[in-house]
Structure formats: structure tokens, C-alpha cells
């Protein structure tokens, strides 16, 4: 009597036990509640896809690290594409005539600025120079030391820019920031208005 009862109870248990893991899922696709992994907390995670919020429908290709001869590339997607991402004016949220004219004015300013700029320091006579030379020499044992030394000696570690020009570019940056803030506010008001 007991044995059939126990056997039937066991069979019922086996039949009714939930498939592991026992869980309750409520999935509505890429939800706002989904945990967003910090984007830049894993510097070694080369294969972490990059976010592209402006193209939500396209699957994100994985980055591929290549070393081709003397060049280092960090590519995303098609290897045949240009390594540097092209900048499309239409992708900018501030695309518009006013922005283009502002960009053109800024570009003209910077073109004139570069013409006025003196040559950057090459003699490394600044206080930072000896420090960097020391950093370069302490690396030691590297097979590419001559190329690196040559590169560091040629590398401008400082910029000869007057305060007047620095303030000018700072003003331009502030204007850009304000324009972007105005654009964000306008979008927010449009959303609220709906």
C-alpha cells in the first residue's frame, strides 16, 4: 500500500518540478530597467561593443584590433572602411544653417590662428621636458627605443599660445556649449509639450 503511494508521489513530483532555473521573466525588450554596464570601466575590454544611440536599429559590430605592419588600428566593423570615422554634418544634433555658419566662422578663426602660431617647442627646454626625457630613458630594454626617442624629441609637449588666443578659443567653446544646451532644452520642451 505504501510502496505504490510513494511511487505515485515520486512520479508526481518529477512531473511537476519546474525546469531549472526556477525564474520569473518579464521581458519587454531593451527595457529602461536593464542594467547599463559602465562603458569605460573596463579598459581592457576591447570587444565591448560601442554605443550608438542614433542608430538603434542596426546591430553593433564588434571592434577588432589589428596590427598591420607598422600601423595600429582600432576598427569597428568593416575592415575595408576608412579607419577614421567620417563626420557627417547631418549627424550633429545642431545641423542647421546657423551652426554651419558658426562652424565656418570658427574654422576660419582657427585657420587664421594656426597661421599666427609660432613653432611649438622642440628643444624641450620647459620643465616638463627633462621629466619626459627621464620617463623615456627609464623605459629601457625596449627594442623600439631609438624610434621612441626620436618621436619624443620631435613631439611638441607644450603649446605656445597667448592668453588672448586661449580666451578666444575658450569663448568659442562656451558658445558651442550654450548652443548645445539650448538645443537640449528645446528638445526637452518638445517632449514635455507632447
Amino acid at each position: 500500500m505504501r510502496l505504490p503511494l510513494l511511487m505515485s508521489a515520486g512520479l508526481l513530483l518529477v512531473a511537476l518540478l519546474p525546469c531549472p532555473p526556477c525564474r520569473a521573466l518579464l521581458s519587454r525588450g531593451p527595457a529602461s530597467g536593464a542594467r547599463q554596464a559602465p562603458q569605460y570601466s573596463q579598459p581592457l575590454d576591447f570587444f565591448q561593443p560601442q554605443p550608438q544611440p542614433e542608430q538603434p536599429q542596426q546591430p553593433q559590430p564588434r571592434p577588432v584590433l589589428l596590427r598591420m605592419g607598422e600601423e595600429y588600428f582600432l576598427r569597428l566593423g568593416n575592415l575595408n572602411q576608412s579607419p577614421a570615422a567620417p563626420v557627417s554634418p547631418t549627424s550633429s544634433p545642431l545641423a542647421g544653417g546657423s551652426r554651419r555658419s558658426r562652424d565656418k566662422a570658427a574654422a576660419n578663426f582657427f585657420r587664421a590662428l594656426r597661421q599666427q602660431l609660432p613653432l611649438p617647442r622642440r628643444s624641450l627646454n620647459s620643465p616638463a621636458g627633462p621629466g619626459e626625457r627621464g620617463a623615456e630613458s627609464t623605459l629601457g630594454g625596449h627594442q623600439e627605443a631609438p624610434e621612441r626617442k626620436r618621436r619624443s624629441e620631435e613631439a611638441p609637449i607644450s603649446l605656445d599660445l597667448t592668453f588672448h588666443l586661449l580666451r578666444e578659443v575658450l569663448d568659442i567653446a562656451k558658445a558651442e556649449q550654450l548652443a548645445q544646451q539650448a538645443h537640449s532644452n528645446r528638445k526637452l520642451m518638445e517632449i514635455i509639450g507632447k
Binding site: 503511494l5 508521489a9 508526481l12 513530483l13 511537476l16 519546474p18 526556477c22 525564474r23 519587454r28 529602461s32 547599463q36 562603458q39 569605460y40 576591447f46 560601442q50 554605443p51 550608438q52 544611440p53 542614433e54 538603434p56 553593433q60 564588434r62 607598422e70 600601423e71 595600429y72 582600432l74 576598427r75 576608412s82 577614421a84 567620417p86 563626420v87 549627424s91 550633429s92 582657427f110 602660431l117 613653432l119 611649438p120 620647459s126 620643465p127 616638463a128 621636458g129 619626459e132 620617463a135 621612441r148 626620436r150 618621436r151 613631439a155 611638441p156 607644450s158 603649446l159 605656445d160 586661449l166 580666451r167 575658450l170 568659442i172 567653446a173 562656451k174 558651442e176 556649449q177 548645445q180
Partner: protein
């Protein structure tokens, strides 16, 4: 109670427990979202759609004061380029390499400097920065992708780069992170108000305004914040103990600027000074024994104030060093 009845009750209890577990095994999924390849898509980790990332091209000489993605593409050999990054005083700058295509072996370089450096003068100065000068330069060609994300120690950073091959370039994403106790700051604006707090830290902090300004210090606390002011919180000025100094000069490095005033006693009430130099710095020296705080306002000097200096003005002193 008979043993049979007990067994039946146990059997019923077991059944009820099993059924309760089964009722939790619910899986609701909208048919429209059912995508077996969804788990392999990167969209799960992307930013919310509402958060648009600002994008634009980076110029050979540029200043960036907002978050976004910036792409530099050389249309011709660009040998001497630099870009400044500046955030709000209470922010760090983080620079993330999204894509880099430069010929390191051919002489290209891309370096991030922790701070600003102008004509060989650095901000923060070597005395006020936690890292030695050599470590403040982070060379992409040397560190490569081991340092893919770089965070500054203050609200300013800059990059130097050279790209010789047309078509080569790089893309950076610049973001900001909050800094609870800003220490070294360059103000974006010539007018403003700021409270510099150094909470029990043995460090020196500078607030720089790259304009001729009038500084008005409204509150200075050297010691405990509970109002118990020390009559003499330190051994006095003269570079000893905790104090605040006003510096003026025509360079970026506070250690090379002229000390114009020293404050080593706490006080309330405004104390104003007009400084007609290209750069004005409020620097707090802290021993770490106390929590020090200084509140000040600054406004840009008008042209007539620069032409006719009077009163508490240091313009002549700065001009003499031009």
C-alpha cells in the same frame, strides 16, 4: 491519527508545495520582442535612446567644453596639433579612445596631458599635482590600448597629436565625472563664485582664472568647520601651515606666479583685490590637520579699470613682467 492518514496528508502537502513552485515558472514575453538573436546584439548595452551623444569634428587647434564624440581626420599632414578640454569646476574629464588610426612608427603621436600646459608652464603646477610630470603625459603609441580610458585629476586636460597621413585620425569620446572636492580648477568664465574646500587633506589646491579680475573673498575658514575658529590655526603665513594666497602672473603655472597676498587667519566679510594680470589664482595650502574652506567671487575687470588702476591693484606689477 492513523499512519495511513498521516501519509496521505504528507502526500497532499508535497503536492501543494510542488504546485506552488510550478506557479512561479511564468515567462511573459511579448511576441514582437521575441528575437532569438537579441542576446547577441549590442543594443542591450547601449545608452538610452533619449541620450543623444554630441558629435563633431575635432580641429587641429581646438577647445572642447562639453561632452561628446570628437573625430579628427587629417586632410593634410598635421604636425602640431593640440586640443584643450575643460569642464565645470566640480567635474573630472574622461577621454576614451573609440578609434585610433595613426602611424606611430612613422612619427605620428597622440598624447594626453593631465592638465594644461602652455609655453612650458603647467596647470596644476608640479607642486600641486599628485603625479610627477612624466606620468602626466599618456602616450597612446606607448600605452596603446592598455590605457583606453583616461581620467584627468581636475577639470582640465589636453591632447597633443600629430597625424601625417591624410585620412588617418582618431575618435575620442569625452565625458565628465563628478568631483566631490575639486582641488585644482581653471574657471571657464571670467565671472563667478566658488567655494574651495580641502577636507583634512595634505595637498595644495589652486583655482585659476585666466582673466584680469577683481577677487572678493567673502569667507575664509582655516580649521574646524563647527565655528570654533582657532585664533591662530597655524604657525602663520610665510609658507608655513594652512593659508590661502592670491597669486598673479602672466603664465599658467601657479608656482611661477607672484604672491600678492597671504591669508592665514580665518575671517568673515569681503576682502577685495583687483589683479590686472593675465592669470589670477587663489591657492590654498593645507597641512591636512584641518578642514579649510575659502569662498570668493570674481569678476572680470573692465577696460577702464585696467587703464586707470587705483586702489588695491597689481596691474603695474604684472605689466612689468611682460
Amino acid at each position: 491519527m492513523s499512519s495511513t492518514f498521516k501519509l496521505q496528508c504528507h502526500f497532499i502537502l508535497i503536492l501543494l508545495m510542488a504546485l506552488r513552485g510550478e506557479s512561479r515558472h511564468l515567462e511573459l514575453r511579448e511576441r514582437a520582442d521575441h528575437d532569438p538573436f537579441l542576446r547577441f546584439s549590442a543594443n542591450l548595452k547601449r545608452e538610452p535612446a533619449e541620450e543623444q551623444l554630441y558629435r563633431r569634428a575635432l580641429r587641429c587647434l581646438d577647445m572642447v567644453s562639453l561632452q561628446g564624440q570628437f573625430t579628427f581626420t587629417a586632410n593634410r599632414p598635421q604636425l602640431h596639433c593640440a586640443a584643450f578640454f575643460i569642464g565645470e569646476p566640480e567635474e573630472f574629464i574622461t577621454i576614451h579612445y573609440d578609434l585610433v588610426s595613426i602611424d606611430c612608427q612613422g612619427g605620428d603621436f597622440l598624447k594626453v596631458f593631465d592638465g594644461w600646459i602652455l609655453k612650458g608652464e603647467k596647470f596644476p603646477s608640479s607642486q600641486d599635482h599628485p603625479l610627477p610630470t612624466a606620468e602626466r603625459y599618456i602616450d597612446f603609441c606607448e600605452s596603446s590600448l592598455s590605457r583606453r580610458s583616461i581620467r584627468s585629476s581636475q577639470n582640465v586636460a589636453m591632447i597633443f597629436f600629430r597625424v601625417q597621413e591624410p585620412g588617418n585620425g582618431f575618435t575620442l569620446t569625452v565625458k565628465t565625472k563628478p568631483n566631490l572636492f575639486p582641488c585644482n580648477v581653471i574657471s571657464q568664465t571670467p565671472n563667478g563664485r566658488f567655494t574651495l574646500v580641502v577636507p583634512h587633506q595634505h595637498r595644495n589646491c589652486s583655482f585659476s582664472v585666466i582673466y584680469p579680475v577683481a577677487i572678493k573673498i567673502s569667507d575664509l575658514t582655516l580649521g574646524h568647520l563647527n565655528g570654533l575658529q582657532l585664533k591662530k590655526s597655524s604657525a602663520g603665513c610665510g609658507g608655513v601651515g594652512d593659508f590661502v594666497e592670491l597669486l598673479g602672473g602672466n603664465g599658467l603655472d601657479p608656482s611661477k606666479m607672484m604672491p600678492l597676498a597671504e591669508l592665514c587667519y580665518p575671517f568673515h566679510g569681503p576682502a577685495q583685490m583687483k589683479i590686472g594680470c593675465d592669470n589670477t589664482v587663489v591657492r590654498m595650502v593645507s597641512s591636512g590637520k584641518h578642514t579649510n574652506r575659502v569662498t570668493f567671487e570674481y569678476r572680470q575687470l573692465e577696460p577702464y579699470e585696467l587703464e586707470n588702476p587705483n586702489g588695491n591693484s597689481i596691474r603695474e606689477l604684472c605689466l612689468s613682467h611682460l
